[in-house]
């Protein structure tokens, strides 16, 4: 596998210029993600409105893969219901780990397509955690009101 297959233009672009890279002023939920292996840190901020994700953002520091993954995640999650977000998380996780065939509702096919450039990490077991760090932080944030932040580790 060539480096360019992993580092596609979309990854490099989101790695250099991450979208929604900021702290929310009034998050309802947030959580920190930490990968002790490489020291990468991410904080995911959510503004929930009932069971809908009104806004989502992140900040922190990480490699191109983890930054791009967090950036793409915020793009696809914005406006989704929690059930849709859960389906996307499961689908994405299955895609990058290659463990099970992802079952994602057809309505979300376009979002899955946008996350597809990250599938390249499947060939790099040590880098899968880079791609899933922000998603694990997102999952933790769902259970975590903004007044009591939790940290998840991808180890």
């Amino acid at each position: 596998m060539d480096a360019r297959e992993l580092y596609q233009d979309i990854i490099l672009d989101h790695g250099r210029h991450p979208r929604n890279f900021r702290a929310l002023v009034h998050p309802t939920n947030l959580a920190h993600g930490h990968n002790p292996l490489c020291g990468d840190r991410v904080t995911v901020y959510l503004e929930l409105d009932g069971d809908r994700i009104k806004d989502v953002s992140f900040d922190g520091r990480g490699c191109a893969i983890s930054t791009a993954s967090a950036s793409l995640m915020t793009e696809v999650l914005k406006g989704k219901t929690l059930a849709e977000a859960d389906a996307l998380f499961k689908g994405f996780h299955a895609e990058v780990t290659g463990k099970a065939a992802p079952v994602v509702p057809t309505a979300l096919a376009e979002d899955m397509e946008r996350l597809a450039p990250l599938e390249g990490v499947r060939a790099y077991p040590t880098r899968v955690k880079c791609a899933t760090l922000a998603w694990h932080a997102f999952e933790a944030a769902l259970k975590n009101r903004a007044d009591g932040a939790a940290t998840v580790k991808t180890e």
């Binding site: 060539d2 580092y7 490099l12 191109a64 463990k99």
Partner: protein, 430 residues
């Protein structure tokens, strides 16, 4: 569908052109091309540019074959059986201890304790010597260059002994300022624990001078020789260190074996740290008396084949010549510093006045893990991250570095491949 990236054979490096001064036979007599042929890993992975010997070195056939041969011909438990095979195995195991003694120029093989590695060696010193002799307020002096293995054990016993951990900072050049070091020595200093060669940056420390200063203040000194032992001649008596540790797997030997050297009178005063077979003199349910060192510290069946494999590795190193290896590492380090410092946008992490065998780089804007992944695509194996030296990375203001480390099988072409791969990675992430 899930599979690791396959290492495809690369075409051989182009033959050097005539008149290229740097490929002429090196003056020190170590020929890395010939040495490379002694390591089967390179035959099985053509094109591999292995620059991660500081994490773990590759093994020569002499070590692999010796371990196999031992299991085929001479294996039995040691120090137990009265039968001849066990006696032979015991002789080989104790012979390995003598080989390790010679390697360090220790006064007696009784001063050589086999451990799992340098980490276990330092823990042994902390738990046996430290827990016995350190009192509240006593100080253990380390440096900012230490590996976690020479930080965490002292923190672990800090709660129980009341010791104070004092840290000598690095200066702007990445080395240790001896005035800063000396300023932290006092009557309260009981132990100085320092690396001889910093694993994250390649900075060499003046451990001989540090030992003199430590002793002048009545302190003992422990030297972490993990990176130094495979690269330069070590003489524990000339250093006059009280403890010296190194790991077998970094000295071209097997994993799971290492050496703790300590002066005889210090070992004699240290209590056992693990109990079991082989370390006792006499056991009753009321009282047990213990063996003399080193067996007092080797409870249970030891890593017999590991010790024998380590001896084969040390013999192999001696045959190449410690001075020749040192000269080779110095020459190649110099070549690497010269080559890498000419690459725009790549910063060598400073390593003080003297650097050996390790080239840690920072490429601003490119994360070390992204860099290492791209280097891997170019068949260049390096380590990326904090190198088990997080406090040092914090001090340097880096999340991590990309570290190339040299071994006896590396040559200029490996450095050239590294430089080319770094440039390619820079282009990709530009």
């Amino acid at each position: 569908m899930t599979h690791a990236p396959k290492l495809n054979p690369l075409p051989n490096n182009p033959p050097p052109f005539a008149g290229d001064a740097r490929i002429q036979r090196p003056r020190h007599g170590l020929d890395p091309t010939r040495v490379k042929r002694d390591f089967p890993i390179f035959e099985r992975n053509p094109g591999l540019v292995f620059l991660d010997s500081a994490a773990s070195a590759q093994k020569p056939a002499a070590v692999i074959d010796r371990v196999t041969e031992f299991y085929r011909s001479d294996y039995a438990n040691v120090h137990r059986g009265v039968y001849r095979l066990s006696a032979r195995s015991s002789d080989l195991y104790e012979g390995a201890r003598e080989t390790a003694r010679k390697f360090l120029n220790a006064a007696s093989s009784d001063e050589i304790v086999f451990v799992r590695g340098a980490t276990e060696g330092i823990n042994l010193v902390a738990y046996s010597w430290g827990m016995t002799f350190l009192k509240p307020g006593d100080e253990v002096l380390i440096t900012e260059l230490e590996h976690h293995a020479n930080i965490v054990p002292w923190q672990l016993i800090r709660e129980r002994t009341g010791l104070k951990l004092v840290v000598t900072p690095i200066d702007a050049s990445g080395g240790i300022d001896m005035a800063e070091f000396e300023a932290r020595l006092s009557r309260r200093t009981r132990l100085v624990a320092v690396t001889q060669l910093a694993n994250a940056t390649g900075a060499m420390l003046p451990v001989e001078a540090m030992a003199r200063l430590a002793h002048r203040h009545g302190a003992k000194i422990l030297v972490d020789g993990c990176q130094a032992a495979p690269r330069l001649p070590v003489d524990v008596r000339a250093l006059d260190c009280d403890f010296y540790v190194f790991s077998g797997h970094k000295t071209y030997g097997p994993t799971g074996i290492g050496v703790l050297y300590a002066k005889r009178e210090i070992l004699e005063a240290m209590p056992p740290w693990q109990g079991g077979g082989d370390m006792i003199e006499q056991v009753t349910f009321e009282k047990t008396t213990f063996q003399h060192p080193p067996h007092r510290f080797e409870a249970g069946t030891p890593d017999i084949s590991g010790a024998i494999g380590l001896a084969a590795a040390l013999d192999y190193i001696e045959a190449l010549g410690r001075d020749a290896i040192f000269a080779h590492e110095e020459e190649l380090t110099g070549y690497g510093v010269d080559k890498l410092s000419r690459l725009p946008g790549i910063r060598l992490v400073p390593a003080g006045q003297r650097r050996l065998g390790i080239l840690s780089v920072d490429v601003p804007g490119v994360h070390p893990h992204d860099l290492a992944t791209v280097l891997d695509q170019h068949h260049v194996a390096v380590r990326a991250g904090h190198h088990c030296a997080q406090p040092l990375m914090d001090k340097l203001g880096l999340a991590g570095t990309t570290r190339a480390s040299l071994g006896i099988y590396n040559d200029e072409r490996d450095i050239d491949a590294l430089a080319a791969a770094l440039t390619a990675a820079q282009k990709l992430f530009a």
